[in-house]
């Protein structure tokens, strides 16, 4: 599985400006809906499910990264979007630091393996400092897509 297999290019938000974790999640889900990757009628329920998951423990995993997610029956494959928040978002992260890079994932409940492979993929690439640094500097959707592609092709090592 590659990043470009499940990150929806049209839903990427290269300049997310929000005041809160909830606004960030809402904006990202809305972007997936605008891109046609989730049904409009399920947008609110997906946002609610992701916020509920956050109550169990923040998905701010440190190093300025968060991976909010949920399983939801409205999708038949793993879909995700990326948002870059230059000003940082308070995500109640494990290390207490704001997050600058967000990957939001929605996966079908009956395919837990896809969710795990998605997380594996994201974390493996984000451990690469080049990828992290370039991503934080990206300013347009196209730049983010190019970076995801380069990461998939292992061109950033």
């Amino acid at each position: 599985m590659k990043l470009t297999d499940f990150v929806v290019p049209e839903a990427i938000l290269p300049e997310l400006r929000v005041e809160s974790k909830e606004s960030a999640i809402r904006a990202m889900v809305q972007s997936l809906r605008s891109a046609g990757s989730i049904p409009a009628q399920d947008e609110d329920s997906i946002v609610a499910a992701i916020l509920k998951r956050e109550e169990l423990g923040s998905t701010g995993i440190g190093k300025g990264v968060a991976v909010p997610h949920t399983k939801h029956p409205s999708v038949d494959r793993l879909v995700a979007t990326v948002a870059l928040a230059r000003g940082g978002v308070d995500f109640a992260s494990l290390d207490g630091e704001p997050v600058y890079i967000l990957f939001l994932l929605v996966s079908p409940p009956e395919r837990p393996g896809d969710h795990l492979r998605g997380l594996e993929n994201i974390s493996r690439h984000l451990r690469n400092e080049n990828f992290c640094n370039f991503l934080r500097q990206a300013k347009t959707r196209d730049e983010v897509v190019d970076l995801l592609q380069e990461a998939d092709d292992n061109q950033l090592d």
């Binding site: 990264v65 949920t70 399983k71 939801h72 494990l94 493996r124």
Partner: protein
Amino acid sequence: MGQDPVCRREITVTIDGGLHLRPLSQVAQLARGFSCEVHIVKDGQAVNAKEVFDLMTLNAARGSTLVLETAGDGASEALERLAALFESNFEDGTDETCSSDEE
């Protein structure tokens, strides 16, 4: 200091949905409470169990076999506590599910 032997135990992942982020966060939190080294090995690849980022790369589905490995001060206690966490299926009193089938 640091004279404890390396402790190892093989375990099977039995939690529904495999080792997703919430159980992995519990593993990291527990491991960080010990000064010894704590690693989890899958398919010959060892990851630092104190780092959620590293743990996420395990991609351990339900049924996967992992080796818990601790070394240094308090290694045997760390191994016991970690194995117990896996055996309890990560049920620490918080809500199990993160699914959201709202009809």
